[in-house]
């Protein structure tokens, strides 16, 4: 299986390639990509040079242009697709059907992947994207079990890619506006979710509150680690119950399911984390490359190698196991 690794900066891209990434994904430094964070991403020159570096080392580069173009400003997204072709990207990762149609029509030779932000969750829609826009690979949303992924692969020629490690969306990706409801900034329109610009920490009576957009969604004792207030992983009350009603502050770690995902016909495993440091990326990539190589050679996989790197030290296999639902 191919491992697809995140790079938020040229340095992270080089680190990922050196650590054994088959493929790296990244984005331009603007609102065309879903990790539009300050200080992250690539300008055009950096992109061209980074892709040349990856190609020299036998790795591929995918460019995520996976926000939904703003009405009246589509040219910015069209230019991103054109520049991806010019930079010799191996594929673009798109979510919006208007942008897919544009790329299909104007850059037919530029390989197209469907972003997880399009949340294509069954074989009919996967085949629809393949047939209509020549999509060669679909990144599946994190709402499916392993048997459901196997069933999709049995019904399609389109390649599938699944997330195995890192941050975890609890909602169907690209179909969530919790963040814009509370802060005005959304993944679909702005490429951000629960943005740091709207986070406040407030200390009172020995307690530390974490607020997003003025809503208190975490409360810990002084000195305890305070998780980042991501909306869907916040603490809320409904009637008599208070807790993480949507999801605990966990991150995805599906390394134990890799053999099953391979059997399910998955082409590529994706690691989340374009906002992560160079050392994090190197370590995760090195570990996953070793695991994939072991799997391909029929050897036992090293176990529990990534737990230390997870957000808040707590892990989940997410929707891949049916009980998660």
């Amino acid at each position: 299986m191919e491992i697809v690794c995140p790079a938020g900066t040229p340095a992270a891209l080089r680190a990922a390639v050196k650590a054994g990434a088959h493929t790296v994904y990244c984005g331009f430094a603007d609102e065309t990509n879903a990790r539009n964070f300050p200080g992250l991403n690539f300008d055009r020159d950096e992109m061209r040079d980074s892709i040349a570096f990856a190609h020299d080392h036998g790795a591929k580069v995918l460019i995520a242009i996976n926000t939904y173009p703003r009405a009246g400003d589509e040219a910015l997204w069209h230019r991103a697709v054109a520049d991806a072709a010019k930079c010799r990207a191996d594929a673009v990762i798109l979510a919006d059907i208007g942008l897919l149609a544009f790329a299909h029509q104007n850059f037919p030779e530029l390989r197209r992947h469907l972003s997880v932000q399009a949340a294509a969750a069954n074989a009919d829609i996967v085949n629809f994207y393949g047939r209509t826009f020549g999509v060669k690979r679909v990144v599946l949303p994190r709402v499916l079990t392993v048997p459901e992924i196997a069933a999709i692969n049995a019904e399609t020629e389109v390649e599938t890619e699944v997330f195995v490690f890192g941050g975890l969306c609890v909602m169907a990706e690209g179909r969530c506006s919790l963040s814009s409801y509370a802060t005005g900034k959304s993944p679909n329109m702005n490429g951000v979710c629960s943005p740091a610009s709207h986070v406040e920490y407030h200390e009172q009576d020995g307690q530390l509150d974490a607020r997003l957009g003025g809503y208190t969604i975490h409360r810990v004792g002084k000195g305890e680690p305070a998780p980042y207030p991501t909306l869907c992983k916040g603490c809320f009350s409904a009637g008599s119950k208070t807790g993480h009603l949507f999801e605990d502050p966990v991150s995805l770690n599906a390394e134990a399911l890799m053999p099953q995902l391979q059997k399910a016909g998955v082409t590529a495993l994706k690691i989340e984390g374009r906002q992560r440091s160079v050392s994090y990326v190197s370590q995760v990539v090195r570990n996953f490359r070793a695991a994939v190589d072991a799997l391909d050679a029929g050897r036992a996989m090293p176990e529990g190698m990534l737990v230390r790197l997870s957000e808040g030290q707590a892990n989940t296999t997410g929707a891949y196991r049916k009980t998660w639902r």
């Binding site: 173009p69 009405a71 969750a121 829609i125 690209g174 802060t183 809320f236």
Partner: protein, 300 residues
């Protein structure tokens, strides 16, 4: 402008569902979208009542449209979509999967849960047969205006989320089940207890969201009574009113009076507030700093 009644988002008891739709025959609305949007497990409880509701509403002169599910994953859900396409009633797609079952050339509508954010997507959907697009609720007035103008040239009607709790997210996980510590497959239909969703508060007891099975909604009810002139000026053809269990027919009458110009926004909002005093309102997605904002409060 027209008024569309959106599909019921909640799980209502069959007799309540039937009465609600029978009453809509007399409500001052033009179009009714019905069927199951949120969870396929609910449908068997009232599926048999749908044909009669369709017939009653059509006889009353309403345009009737059937919705697709918002998230289609299971084989049985795909089969359901195939059956829906064969019912001979216009379909509103709320998951692009439904398109796989609509023959090329079939006219259809696009619901608010399909990501139609820009002119390129609008043009593609129109070429595929879309005649009406209900825009994603998070779109600001600037985008609505651009899309309504582009739609005019394509012969497509643009609708916006007019009133009701905002559909903010859909998931594979059922939050009602999770609340009761049950797996989704044994949910025991917990969502039926909350005909308008289960309120969710922050740690400071601020009302914030509402849980509705696999769906997450806003606590506030979106309200466009203070935006109607701007939306009309932008070229919007219809407002969507989302069903609520209490005083819905009265709500429809307030919006109709507003569209006819027989009441001013302040008076209409006062009537609405008198109707459901416990409800908080918002219109921030249209012209505020964030979705939860309410233009009346900030100008007061």
């Amino acid at each position: 402008m027209e008024l569309t009644v959106g599909a019921v988002q909640f799980f209502w008891k069959p007799e309540f569902w039937a009465q609600f739709h029978a009453d809509l025959a007399d409500a001052p609305v033009d179009r009714v979208v019905l069927g199951e949007l949120v969870c396929s497990k609910r449908l068997p409880f009232y599926q048999d009542l749908i044909p009669e509701a369709v017939a009653t509403l059509q006889a009353a002169g309403k345009e009737v449209v059937l919705t697709s599910l918002a998230l289609i994953t299971l084989r049985r859900e795909r089969k359901l979509m195939a059956e829906l396409a064969e019912m001979g009633v216009e379909i509103e797609i709320n998951d692009l999967t439904a398109l796989a079952y609509l023959p090329e050339g079939t006219a259809f509508s696009v619901g608010p849960l399909v990501n139609a954010y820009n002119e390129g997507t609008l043009a593609w959907l129109a070429a595929r047969g879309a005649t009406r697009i209900s825009l994603p609720p998070e779109l600001p007035l600037g985008s609505i205006r651009v899309l309504a103008q582009a739609a005019k040239a394509l012969g497509v009607q643009i609708e916006v989320w007019g009133h009701g709790r905002l559909p903010l997210a859909i998931s594979g996980r059922c939050y009602h089940s999770r609340l009761y510590g049950r797996p989704k497959d044994n949910c025991q239909y917990a969502c039926e207890e909350d005909p308008d969703g289960r309120p969710v508060e922050t740690l400071d007891q601020q009302p914030f969201l509402a849980i509705n099975g696999v769906q997450t909604l806003s606590d506030t009810h979106a309200c466009t009574l203070n935006q109607i002139d701007a939306l009309r000026d932008a070229g919007v053809a219809a407002l969507r009113l989302s069903p609520q269990s209490q005083r819905f027919a009265d709500l429809c009458r307030i919006y109709r009076a507003m569209l006819e110009g027989s009441v001013a926004p302040e008076a209409a909002i006062a009537q609405l507030t008198a109707l459901t005093p416990e409800v908080r309102l918002s219109d921030g997605f249209i012209d505020g700093a964030r979705g939860v904002a309410w233009s009346v409060e900030s100008t007061a």
